[in-house]
């Protein structure tokens, strides 16, 4: 039962990435991103044109973003298993995992607010729109911190059968490095580091999607590793720690 629930949690994360792309891209039409150097009128016009698409797509995200939680709960558990007790690394994972669904639902709330009364003063719509992109693209710190901790855990895992292969650690560092440029969107209105830019948006989005797919597979395998360990312990009648 454990194994089934945990694998479901891993796959739920992957399903949510697909859901996110459908909600943001196909329903709301917010990807590809609008231009940050648009005037307030142009921005407001987008919200007039896509009013219902944005309200429906993002209402779904505000509801479903929380389904990312089991995925990150599983991730935190695996870090806890490597660390061996509720230490700083696993607790930090738990704390930052809490912030993850907010990254999606909080940004969506701002865009929904912008699309709720599109006939209002365009300056207000523009400000709300800025907040949407600032949170959606620019708030990269929590996930990068999680990923760096995860990489570190992969490297220090000295158990006989480690939960993750070592290349997964390097893969996480790669993701962390490529995720960082998103934090620069506050400084640019045009170019590759603006919120619609190649370096700040498209590459991080691609790498994030790849990371979610690979991490889902790795977590599924880690669940198997744990199950095998549990069976071995049961066979030799060892006391099973409540990990």
């Amino acid at each position: 039962m454990h194994v089934k629930i945990e694998k479901a949690a891993a796959r739920l994360g992957l399903a949510m990435v697909g859901g996110f792309l459908v909600m943001f891209w196909f329903i709301a039409g917010l990807i590809p991103p609008m231009n940050p150097s648009d005037s307030a009128q142009q921005t407001a016009q987008i919200y007039v044109d896509k009013e219902w698409r944005i309200r429906i797509g993002l209402a779904l995200m505000i509801l479903f973003a929380w389904l990312f939680a089991p995925f990150f709960a599983l991730l935190s558990r695996q870090v806890r298993r490597i660390e061996g007790y509720w230490g700083v690394m696993s607790l930090t994972q738990v704390m930052l995992s809490v912030t993850f669904p907010f990254g999606f639902s909080l940004c969506a709330l701002f865009a929904v607010a912008a699309a709720y009364r599109p006939e209002r003063n365009p300056d207000v719509t523009q400000a709300l729109n800025d907040m949407f992109w600032f949170i959606f693209v620019g708030l990269v710190g929590p996930l990068i911190t999680q990923v760096v901790i995860l990489a570190f855990c992969v490297f220090i895992d000295k158990r006989e059968v480690p939960s993750f292969p070592r290349w997964f650690g390097y893969f996480n560092i790669w993701y962390a490095i490529l995720g960082v440029p998103g934090c620069a969107i506050y400084l640019f209105k045009t170019g590759p580091l603006a919120w619609n830019g190649l370096f700040a948006f498209w590459i991080p989005l691609t790498v994030f999607t790849i990371w979610m797919i690979v991490t889902t597979v790795m977590l599924t395998k880690a669940v198997d590793v744990e199950a095998a360990e549990r069976e071995k312990r049961a066979a030799s009648r060892e006391w099973e720690p409540a990990a």
């Binding site: 070592r166 893969f171 490095i177 590759p192 580091l193």
Partner: protein, 203 residues
């Protein structure tokens, strides 16, 4: 080359009959290194595409760059890579003191690179060449900035290598990490070797 056996590191279940071919660092590391190179390839491609849109502007702006500083930084990074290579060799032959001094040399080069970059950036901004000025300077600051970010990570890696160089006996895993760190520094060097002609020289 010293044979560091990686089997225990990689998976533990490989047959121990055939001798492993030596991959610098460990195989997984190359996901990071090649992955980073691919993305920098995309960055360079974007720059080339932008340049093809405004060749005169890019060429005129290119000539306002400080070629001397760029060249000095290239030589500094090449020297640092040489330091790292000889340091790894010294670690392999257990010459710990030499390894540490060589790594200190590499670190000094890394810091000198950062120092010169700060001087260069300050000079550019004082001359009125800011990222908002034109597309060339936007890409100049972003590409060199992303590379500088790699240099910072590389400096942290070199400090880690320095802490390992003093150890009397490095296990297979640790030696692989040390080699991996050295490879990362070479990547930082390699990226600059491509970036320097791309920004400063190609007309």
């Amino acid at each position: 080359m010293n044979q560091v056996t990686l089997r225990s590191v990689v998976g533990g279940d490989r047959s121990s009959a055939k001798p492993a071919r030596h991959v610098p660092g460990e195989p997984g590391l190359w996901i990071l290194l090649f992955g980073d190179m691919v993305v920098f390839g995309v960055f360079f491609g974007t720059f080339m595409y932008q340049r093809s849109l405004a060749p005169e502007l890019f060429d005129a702006s290119r000539q306002t760059l400080s070629l001397g500083i760029g060249l000095a930084n290239t030589l500094i990074l090449l020297t640092s890579s040489l330091f790292v290579v000889t340091a790894i060799r010294a670690i392999r032959s257990s010459q710990r003191l030499a390894a540490r001094w060589l790594l200190v040399g590499a670190l000094a080069c890394g810091l000198a690179f950062v120092g010169l970059k700060v001087v260069e950036y300050t000079a550019k901004v004082h001359e009125g060449n800011t990222p908002n000025q034109n597309a060339f300077y936007l890409y100049y600051f972003i590409l060199t900035g992303l590379h500088l970010f790699h240099v910072f990570i590389g400096i942290v890696v070199l400090v880690l290598l320095l802490t390992q160089a003093g150890k009397s006996d490095l296990s297979g895993t640790r030696m692989a990490l040390v080699e991996g760190g050295a490879c990362f520094w070479h990547l930082v060097d390699l990226l600059w070797i491509v970036l320097f002609p791309l920004l400063y020289l190609v007309s």
